[in-house]
């Protein structure tokens, strides 16, 4: 066997399978029916894009009413009237929140975005995760405002509690628990009463208070959606564990709750929040409607999350629990260290789908009179300057919903890839 040292003769560059030419050739190779179908689909797509662009590109940004739009367009039909978005975009975003305080929700959501980003990275450092809690504590204060003292007390108490966690770790668990409950109670009491103890000059120090009624537009959707997402995940996991628990009472209560909530449409729960609760509460009490709605949406989402997590728990092989038991881990250690990490990984797509659905379901609150983007759309259209406008407002709302829902679904796919460990 003699080894040849001759060079391989040069060959033409390989045909790209990715370029437009390559694709056309690949299509042509598959026969005429493929080619015809492709041409038709592309033509349809191009026509659709052209129609949308022809509608959207319209020099009406400065118009002050639909009539002015029509004047500008001079009889051209099928053109958008963007003046309404120009005039009302801030209302669609924050509702009746005072415009001078616009920075508060903006800051809150930027901080929250950063925090969520920091928390949701797979390899985030422990310190980053702890710091990321701060925006969540800060957001309610930024949004509602009011005297700062109660929030200072609560925030301080929360920090102290974290320190206490470190100090109290070795002592008796029951006493530890009692101390914490007492501490939280004291902090809450202090927070409620501190403003009475302060001199009047200091009493009202803080951001200007904003009433829940002034919240609207996407601020409302985000607030309800985000709160529901945040609170429903732990609650859903707890419900799933409860439903798979060996304790009969816990199992019955969890199952009953989940089946009740899943058996009832969300809109029914919202009506309970808006009308039924009013009848049970003593007259004159003003139990914030937004908080009522957040509670109901959270309960609703948690039931669905519970079922998704339960399915995932069932998918974790039984050997995992047995292995944990053989290592001497107790129930909570088994769940926290062995079962839940695997189960939650499996359930990511389901959980994120639920979150996306919940976020979109927040538009149902327009039916009980809250002015979310859809409620506001109706309100804006009642202004005689804008009566008759449809696509512009709803399109704007749809675009923003799409951006956030698409981001969520992309995140879930990214997270799945990050957590890919080869098996399963």
């Amino acid at each position: 066997m003699s080894q040849s040292n001759d060079l391989i003769p040069p060959r033409p560059a390989p045909q790209s399978a990715n370029g437009i030419l390559g694709r056309i050739q690949a299509l042509a190779a598959q026969g005429p029916s493929h080619l015809i179908l492709s041409v038709i689909s592309y033509a349809a797509m191009a026509a659709m894009i052209w129609l949308i662009l022809r509608w959207a590109i319209s020099p009406t940004w400065t118009a002050g009413s639909l009539a002015e739009c029509r004047e500008i367009l001079q009889g051209q039909h099928g053109k958008a009237c963007w003046g309404v978005i120009n005039e009302r975009w801030s209302q669609l975003l924050i509702g009746f929140y005072p415009k001078a305080e616009f920075w508060r929700p903006a800051l809150a959501f930027v901080l929250l975005g950063l925090a969520i980003f920091a928390m949701l990275r797979v390899n985030a450092r422990a310190m980053e995760r702890k710091l990321a809690v701060i925006p969540f504590v800060l957001t309610p204060y930024l949004l509602w405002g009011g005297p700062i003292w109660s929030w200072v007390v609560l925030f301080g108490a929360a920090c102290l509690l974290l320190v206490m966690n470190k100090l109290l770790r070795s002592t008796n668990a029951k006493a530890d628990f009692a101390i914490r409950i007492a501490f939280i109670g004291a902090a809450v009491w202090l927070a409620m009463n501190i403003s009475d103890a302060l001199p009047p000059s200091l009493k009202d120090l803080g951001l200007e208070p904003v009433k829940s009624r002034e919240f609207g537009g996407f601020l409302l959707s985000f607030l309800i959606g985000l709160s529901a997402i945040l609170f429903s995940l732990p609650m859903g996991v707890a419900l799933a564990l409860g439903r798979t628990s060996k304790l009969p009472l816990l199992r019955v209560v969890s199952t009953g709750f989940i089946e009740f909530i899943r058996g009832v449409p969300l809109i029914t729960l919202l009506f309970i929040a808006s009308t039924l609760l009013n009848i049970f509460l003593p007259p004159g009490t003003n139990f914030d409607i937004i908080v009522r709605v957040i509670i109901m949406v959270t309960l609703f989402a948690s039931a669905y999350i519970a079922e998704i997590v339960r399915g995932a728990l069932a998918a974790v092989p039984k050997g995992q629990t047995e292995g944990a038991a053989s290592l001497g881990l107790n129930y909570w250690q088994t769940q926290r260290l062995i079962i839940l990490p695997q189960a939650l990984k499996i359930s990511i797509p389901g959980i994120v789908s639920t979150f996306i659905a919940v976020f979109k379901d927040t538009t149902l609150v327009s039916i009980i009179g809250l002015l979310d983007p859809l409620g506001l759309a109706n309100n804006i259209r009642a202004d005689s300057a804008w009566t008759g406008i449809v696509w512009e407002i709803y399109g704007f709302a749809a675009l923003i919903f799409f951006i956030f829902c698409f981001a969520m679904s992309q995140y879930s796919m990214w997270l799945e890839r990050q957590l890919q460990t080869g098996h399963r």
Partner: protein, 337 residues
Amino acid sequence: MKFLRNGAAIALAFAPVSGFADTLEDVQARGQLLCGVNTGLSGFSFTDADGNWTGFDVDMCRAVAAAVLGDADAVEYIPLTGKTRFTALSSGEIDFLSRNTTWTYSRDSDLAANFVGTSYYDGQGFLTRAELGVSSVMDLDGATICIKTGTTTELTLSEFFRSNGMTYEPVPIESDSEAQQQYNAKSCDVFTADASALAANRASFADPDAHVILPEIISKEPLGPAVRHGDDRWHDIVGWTLNALIAAEELGITSENARTLGDTTNSPEIKRLLGVDGDLGAMNGLSATWAQDAIAAVGNYGEIFDRHLGTDTVIGLERGLNAQWFNGGLQYAPPFR
């Protein structure tokens, strides 16, 4: 600390309830009137770009706030849908309801709402394309009609057509925007709703003159503010504020001269109404200038109508039934004496 107080409120929820306190005292203690309005209805209740509520129904809220608190801006507006309005009223979430609500027997008795009067006489009308050459509802046999589902208009329509031996094909719709789309796409020949809503819809069309509102009004829809059962003084206050606005038009009191007319006029009724003579306000626990404040804030009934619904607005409604009684309308305020 809203959350904490809410928690306390839940805890109190099952404590014994002593019934409603005096609404007037509640409002004065709160310094703000809680007024239930429509989430959005052309001419009646909507917000401008700065988030200020405006409209015919909203001005009723402002008038009552001015009469009770002396400040027309001391109102918190609670947007309500057709489904939530009566619960909001009976549960005390609002002080009174000013939301284009039709005064009917069952609502007045069964739903425990008290209507204080009629602020706007509406009625079901028909909007159709002028090119169809229809001049009367009686020509509509066999027409396709866009109709909002689940409303009294739907029932009135079928009763009307049945009793006149005519047929029609309903095109069910959910909202005004859907109606506009369907009607302009010629899915229906006719759109039926309250005449005021039809006028607002017509005004939004590219070519309003190509559409006509037929002359027949086939139902009575007296819209008015409502209060809770069980607080007669509050009922009187809201009702007489409405009467004061109507009387002000009759007596020639406007938002401009409300502050001065009382001193210059010779009419004893104007003097009584504006609080220059007598003590009408005190009889209801209000200040002497309650009516003066209300009129100065929002104007008399005619001014309110012209500002939001009248022929100078886009909506362009004639006074019709809502004219003063001496002009052939139904607006008639009892004497202030």
